[in-house]
Symmetry: C2
Subunit: 341 residues, 2 copies
C-alpha cells in the first residue's frame, strides 16, 4: 500500500495537522519540525494522491488557449479540438476558455497576456507570435508562477515550460529530402509557397528545406519564396502565375496554409506536366488532392494531439508533477496516399 499522510505523521512523530502544514506550505512550522516531516516524506516515498487532493479541493483547472483569429483550415481544426476538450471538461476537471487575438499582432497578444495574468489561471497555452515583447510577457507569467505552453509555434529563448508542436526545421528538412528523392536526380526548379516569412514556423520550415536542398540536391534550384498569406485566393494566383511563366518548375513545396488555392492552380495549369508536390497540413482539400495524385505527400501535425498534450502538461505543471516526455513529443506525420487515417 502506498503511504498516506497518516503514515508520515506517525513516522515523523508529529500530528496530521503539522504534516498538512508542511505539505501545503502553510506557515507556523518550526524549521526543525519541517525537516523531520520532509525526511519522513522522502523516506516513505510519499506521493500525494492527486485524485483525492483534487476531490477535497473540488479543484478545477482554469485553462486559457490563446489563438490567432486566422481563417484557415488548420486554425479551424485547432479550434475544434479545443472545443472537443471543453466538452470533456467535467470529467477532466478543466475549465477551458478560448481567447482569439488578431493574427501577426504582437502588441495585441501582449495586452491579452497581461489581462489574463490577473485572472491567475492554472495555465495558459498560446500560439506564439515571435517578438521580444511577447517573450517578455511570457517570462513575466512564468515568474508569476503561471504554467505556460506554446502551441504550434514556439517562442525559443523564453521561459515557457513546454512547446506542444512539431520541430519545424526538421519538417522542412524532411520535405526537402522527400521532394529530392521523389524527383530522383532530375534537374529543375522548385517553387516554394509560404504563408508569411513573419511567422516563425514558416521561417523554420523554409530554413530546414533550403539547407537540405542546397546540401544534398544541388540539381534542384529554389525559386524565391511566394508569400500567399495563408489565403487560398492569393495562393492560387501566385502558383498559377509561376507555373504559367516558368516551364522549368518540376516541384512545389507548400509550407503554409491556403492549399485549396494551390490545388486549384495545379488542376488548371499542370494537367500536361509532371509535378511533384509536397504540402503541409492534412485537410479535406489536401486529403482529396493526395488521393487523386495532385499532391505527392503531406506533412502534418495532429492538432488533437497538440491540444491534449498542452492540457496534460499544463495540469501537470500546475501540480508540480513530471510529464512523460515521449508522450508529449508531437510527431511530424508523413502521409502518402496509402497511410491516411
Amino acid at each position: 500500500m502506498r503511504p498516506t499522510v497518516h503514515d508520515i505523521a506517525a513516522a515523523a512523530g508529529v500530528s496530521l495537522a503539522t504534516v498538512d502544514r508542511v505539505l501545503n506550505q502553510r506557515p507556523g512550522v518550526r524549521h526543525v519540525t519541517r525537516e523531520k516531516v520532509e525526511t519522513a516524506i522522502r523516506d516513505l516515498g510519499y506521493v500525494r494522491d492527486v485524485a483525492a487532493a483534487n476531490l477535497a479541493k473540488s479543484r478545477v483547472y482554469p485553462l486559457i488557449f490563446i489563438l490567432p483569429a486566422s481563417d484557415n483550415s488548420f486554425m479551424h481544426g485547432l479550434n475544434a479540438e479545443i472545443r472537443a476538450a471543453i466538452a470533456r471538461s467535467t470529467a477532466e476537471r478543466t475549465d477551458i476558455r478560448i481567447v482569439e487575438v488578431p493574427a501577426f499582432d504582437p502588441q495585441a497578444l501582449v495586452r491579452e497576456l497581461e489581462a489574463l495574468a490577473a485572472e491567475k489561471p492554472s495555465g495558459i497555452a498560446l500560439v506564439a507570435t515571435d517578438a521580444p515583447d511577447v517573450r517578455a510577457a511570457v517570462d513575466r507569467l512564468v515568474k508569476d508562477g503561471i504554467p505556460v505552453v506554446t502551441l504550434v509555434s514556439d517562442l525559443t529563448g523564453s521561459l515557457r515550460h513546454h512547446y506542444a508542436g512539431v520541430d519545424n526545421i526538421a519538417a522542412g528538412r524532411t520535405a526537402a529530402r522527400l521532394l529530392g528523392r521523389f524527383l530522383g536526380g532530375a534537374k529543375g526548379e522548385i517553387a516554394i509557397l509560404a504563408g508569411s516569412m513573419l511567422v516563425r514556423d514558416h521561417r523554420e520550415r523554409l530554413e530546414g528545406f533550403a539547407a537540405v536542398m542546397a546540401h544534398e540536391f544541388p540539381a534542384l534550384h529554389l525559386l524565391s519564396v511566394l508569400e500567399g498569406r495563408d489565403d487560398p485566393e492569393v495562393a492560387h494566383m501566385l502558383i498559377a502565375d509561376a507555373l504559367g511563366k516558368n516551364d522549368g518548375i518540376i516541384g512545389i513545396y507548400s509550407l503554409g496554409a491556403g492549399n485549396r488555392g494551390l490545388v486549384r492552380a495545379l488542376k488548371e495549369k499542370a494537367v500536361d506536366r509532371t509535378l511533384t508536390v509536397i504540402a503541409h497540413e492534412l485537410t479535406a482539400h489536401t486529403r482529396a488532392a493526395l488521393l487523386d495524385g495532385t499532391i505527392d505527400a503531406i506533412l502534418n501535425q495532429d492538432a488533437g494531439h497538440e491540444v491534449r498534450s498542452a492540457i496534460r502538461v499544463l495540469k501537470a505543471k500546475a501540480d508540480g508533477l513530471a510529464v512523460i516526455d515521449a508522450q508529449e513529443r508531437i510527431r511530424l506525420d508523413i502521409f502518402l496516399k496509402d497511410n491516411l487515417p
Copy 2:
C-alpha cells in the same frame, strides 16, 4: 456544478441507498423505481466521478500483458515500456504483470489465457498469435466480461475490444510507394526480408507491399520472400547471399526484425552499388544505418504509445467508459534521417 448522487436521489424522489443500488447494479430495486432513477440520471446528465469512485473503492486495475518470449529489439523495447508503466502504477492505480509465452505457439497462448481468466483481471493485453483456438479463447474472455486488447498484432474476427497497433497493410503499401518513388522509375529487382510468413503482421505488410508494387511500379520485380526468423545471423546470411548472386537487386524491403544482420550484409556487399532500403522498427541499429545512409527510410510503431494506449483503453473498458478514438489510433511513423526523434 455537475450533478452528484444526492441530486439524483432528490430528483428521483428516492433515497441515496436506492440510487447506489441502481448505479452499482445491486439487487433489491423494483423495476419502476429503477426506471425513475435512470430517468433522473439521464435528465440531469449525471456521470459518475471516476476519481471519487476509485478512491472510495480503493480501486486498482489488475492488468496483464502477454508477450511472446522473442529475443529481438522490438520486443525488448515493448517490455521496457511496460516496465515503465509498472513504475507509474501507484499514480495510475494499476497493477500490471507481464506474462511471457513461447513465440508462435498458439496452444501455449491459449493455455495461458485460460489460466489468467480465473484471476478475473481488470483487463488483458496480448500480442496475438493468429489461430482459431486463440480467437476462441479471446472470445470466451470477452464473454466473461474481461476487457481484451490486442497489441502489435491483431486478431481480426475475434471479439477483442480494441487493437493497439498499426495498420500493417497500410504500412506495407506505404513502404512500396516510398521505395517505388525513391527508385524513380528505374527497372530492377526488389529483395524482401521477412521474419516469418506465419505471423499475421508480416503477412499483412507483404500483402500491402506486393499490391502497390504490382499496381503502380511494374518496372520493379519482387524476388521471393526471404524468411529471416527475425534473427540477425539468418538475415545476414540471406541478404549477403542474395546480393552476391543477383546483380539486379536495386531495392530491399525489410519488414521484420533482425535488421542488425541486414545492415551488416549491406555494409559488406553493397559498398559499390546504390541500393534503396526500407526497413521496419527504429532501433539503435536501424537508427545508425539511417543516419549513415545505409537505410533510406524506417517505418516504425511507437511501443510506448501502444502500451499507454492499451492501458488507457483497458481501464476505460473496465469502467464502461468511452475512449477518444483519435487518441488511441496508433500511427505509422515514417522516419527519414531528418526527422528522427
